[in-house]
């Protein structure tokens, strides 16, 4: 891919990601927010692919755009009070939050000026899935197992929380 093409692709993706993300936080309608978030995740997934991380991109599509988005939408539906009122309003700290976020971007901009090693190779895998599987089942077997336990615990916890106490 030529430099120009990659620049264009990056800019487009960046615009999609940031635009949809802004839409998520600025929208007054929670359902719109959820849909825009899904779009944002898709953009992120595509960005992973441009970063030579195709398996991670696939995971992003499946878990975030798929699973998490569905979960969020379910949550929205289960907790929605109905029509007539903005479902996704701001609170009183909007200005402060915006200032804080702006400051964060400024500071991170400063940090990024220290980065001098751009485009210095890095590691590009021919077979990300195979390599990841290899690492996960060899060097990182323990975190892998712990992640499994974590997911199980989260599953049970979520069920118990959502089910609630037995009404007596």
């Amino acid at each position: 891919m030529s430099e120009l093409a990659s620049l264009v692709v990056f800019c487009l993706l960046a615009m999609v990601i940031l635009g949809t993300a802004l839409g998520v936080v600025l929208s007054n309608n929670l359902v719109h927010s959820a849909l825009l978030m899904t779009a944002c995740f898709i953009g992120v997934g595509i960005m992973y692919i441009t970063l030579e991380a195709d398996f991670l991109g696939a995971v992003e599509f499946m878990t975030y755009s798929g699973g998490v988005a569905v979960l969020i939408v379910m949550g929205v539906m289960l907790t929605n009070k109905g029509e007539g009122v903005p479902s996704n309003p701001f609170n009183g700290r909007k200005i402060w939050a915006a200032a804080l976020s702006g400051t964060f971007i400024a500071v991170m901009g400063l940090v990024s000026t220290f980065v001098t090693s751009s485009n210095q190779g890095g590691f590009v895998s021919e077979d990300t899935l195979g390599d990841l599987a290899d690492m996960m089942l060899n060097s990182y077997i323990l975190p892998f197992e712990i992640a499994a336990v974590l997911l199980l615990a989260a599953l049970l916890g979520a069920i118990i929380l959502a089910k609630g106490d037995e009404e007596s």
Binding site: N91, W96, A97, L100, T103, V107, V111, F114, T116
Partner: protein, 636 residues
């Protein structure tokens, strides 16, 4: 053999009654007779040991200059080493004899007197504890041990005065005794602390060496303060003016207690302390003068009150105060011998007088007013005989015990100060008069209360035996001690060999006889009307009858001072202390109100603060990294 054993094991003397207290208090309290047997047998062993110690003192030539001392380390605080032990010299031996004798006899007497009292066992437990504490006090080797037991006898006194705790007056009297003596004890404690600070030791034997050197080099100035503070303790404990007010009220306790504690033993602890610390007091003429005059004043003051009192025990109580004043006077004029001689004889005859009074009250259904008795001599011949001997003894009629001891005091006073001698002589006259009044009114004449008189009866053997023994002692102890050379043993400094001053002895005896005759005329022959006399001397009579309004004055003073101070302190408490506390509270409240909006429960503002912190750290990191980069020349 036995003497040496007794001397080596003198520590058993106070320990045995203490053990008896523990046994009775913890185990046999509810078995009255058994408790009495335990207490009496322990006291008997103590008495025998005391006899052994006394014999050992005489045989082993233990004098005041070369006492027998046993010491054990009690405790250390920093560099201060305090020991506990026994110090035996003739003073101690005499006190041991007096205390064990009276204590044993009173315990035997109590077996009869307390018959049927629900607190029988408890009474013997307290008596035992008292005996143990008093004997420990007598044997003390240093001021702190003495102070320890001093407080313990004070506690026993409190417990026994308030023995009939269901009577409000008994409770009040116990409190009064405890608090009044506490005033004195506080002074004593201060004095002891100052002694420790000044000399670095409280041991009697060491102080005896150190004090004269100190006086020789540094003068007496500071020691006078210490000695006066020490003397405040005896003022409280021995009922000297102005802290005498508790002693008459202490008669609320059972009569054996009055005999043992408030006549014969505990109240003379003050005299004993001054005697024990005589090496200090005798170095300070100014303090000696104070002691002599305070004693003399107390003697005549209490005697003048005793003349008009009506309850039998109250008369005896004021008499005790008066006689204690006598002892203090003797100490003040520098005659340790006469003071302790009088202490011994007084212990015997005053204990007997109290026990006789107890017998009378026992017989008369607890009637205390002598003017409601009358004519008892036919009903109670033994008691009457004992009382008569006691009265003759205290009045100073030869050959009874009081004559010899009182005469020695008068002689000693006459040598130092004619004024004190006259004071003491007048007191002796008054003493003879009021004691004769007591005897004549209660035992002579016609019964004032026929019904009570009919019920009156002679007391049982338990109570009769101690009376008889004490009567014998009251007769012989004076002349025997006089012959046996009491002054060779119980003395301070060189032995005093004084022949009897016939002039002084004759005068006092004559005055005593006149007083007795006067009392006979007024109260038996009724040649003069007592009521008319009282009216004639109206103001004086009222003053005396109301004890010079000392209690009322104290009450008023307390009202003015204590209430005034309380008002001031209340104001300070409300406006300043509370003000500070409220201001602190207000400050905290204000600050927390300032800070509490931060704790608004809004999780998002918490998160905001947290992220703000992250950003600050990040910014600091950026700044630090740029500095580092400049240092390294622009490259990581």
């Amino acid at each position: 053999m036995f003497n040496e054993f007794a001397l080596e094991h003198a520590w058993l003397i106070p320990l045995l009654p203490a053990i008896s207290f523990v046994i009775i208090g913890m185990v046999t309290r509810s078995y009255g007779k058994l408790s009495a047997v335990i207490a009496v047998s322990m006291s008997t062993i103590s008495f025998l040991l005391a006899v052994g110690v006394t014999l050992a003192v005489v045989a082993g030539n233990i004098t005041v200059d070369a006492p027998f001392v046993q010491k054990l380390s009690w405790f250390h605080i920093g560099s201060v080493n305090i020991s506990m032990g026994v110090l035996i010299d003739p003073l101690t031996a005499m006190m041991l004899m007096v205390v064990t004798t009276v204590s044993l006899l009173v315990q035997i007497y109590s077996c009869g007197y307390m018959e049927g009292d629900p607190g029988y066992g408890r009474f013997f437990a307290f008596l035992s504890l008292f005996a143990g504490s008093m004997l420990g006090l007598v044997l003390a080797v240093n001021f702190l041990q003495m102070y320890f037991f001093w407080e313990l006898v004070g506690l026993c006194s409190y417990l026994l005065i308030g023995f009939y705790y269901y009577k409000i007056s008994a409770r009040e009297a116990a409190k009064k005794a405890f608090m009044t003596t506490r005033v004195g004890d506080f002074g004593l404690l201060l004095g002891i602390l100052l002694l420790q600070l000044t000399f670095g030791t409280l041991d009697f034997m060491e102080l005896q060496q150190l004090v004269p050197i100190y006086v020789m080099h540094g003068g007496a100035g500071f020691l006078i303060i210490i000695a006066l503070l020490l003397f405040v303790g005896p003022i409280g404990k021995s009922g000297q003016f102005p802290l005498h007010v508790w002693l008459p009220d202490a008669m609320e306790g059972p009569t054996p207690v009055s005999a043992l504690i408030h006549a014969a033993t505990m109240v003379v602890a003050g005299v004993y302390l001054v005697g024990r610390a005589f090496f200090l007091f005798s170095q300070l003429p100014a303090v000696m003068t104070v002691i002599a005059w305070l004693g003399g004043f107390t003697a005549i003051f209490a005697a003048s009150i005793a003349i008009t009192q009506r309850p039998i025990k109250r008369i005896l109580a004021y008499s005790t105060i008066s006689q204690l004043g006598y002892m203090m006077l003797a100490l003040g004029v520098g005659s340790l011998t006469s003071s302790f001689f009088h202490l011994m004889t007084h212990a015997f005859f005053k204990a007997m007088l109290f026990l006789s009074a107890g017998a009378v009250m026992h017989a008369m259904a607890e009637e205390a007013d002598i003017f409601k008795m009358g004519g008892l001599r036919k009903k109670m011949p033994v008691t009457f005989a004992a009382m008569t001997i006691g009265v003759l003894a205290i009045s100073g009629i030869p050959p009874f015990a009081g004559f010899f001891s009182k005469d020695e005091i008068l002689a000693a006073a006459a040598q130092v100060s004619p004024a004190l001698y006259i004071l003491a002589t007048i007191t002796a006259f008054m003493t003879a008069f009021y004691m004769a009044r007591l005897l004549f009114v209660a035992f002579m004449g016609q019964p004032a209360n026929q019904e009570a008189y009919d019920h009156a009866h002679e007391v049982g053997w338990f109570m009769r035996v101690p009376l008889i023994v004490l009567s014998v002692l009251s007769v012989v102890s004076g002349i025997w001690a006089h012959m046996a050379g009491f002054g060779d043993w119980v003395r301070f400094g060189a032995p005093a060999h004084e022949g009897m001053n016939l002039m002084i002895a004759g005068t006092s005896t004559l005055l005593a006889v006149i007083a007795l005759a006067l009392a006979w005329k007024v109260y038996v022959a009724k040649s003069w009307d007592a009521d008319a006399l009282a009216k004639k001397w109206g103001v004086l009579y009222q003053l005396s009858f109301h004890k010079f309004y000392i209690d009322e004055i104290y009450a008023a003073l307390i009202k003015v001072f204590v209430d005034g101070i309380a008002k001031v302190l209340y104001w300070i408490d409300v406006h300043i202390v509370d003000g500070i506390v409220n201001a602190l509270g207000g400050l905290v409240r204000a600050v927390s109100e300032m800070l509490s909006p931060a704790e608004n429960g809004q999780v998002q503002s918490y998160a905001g603060v947290y992220l703000f912190g992250v950003i600050v750290l990040l910014a600091y990191g950026v700044y630090y990294a740029s500095k580092l980069m400049a240092l390294l020349g622009g490259a990581f």
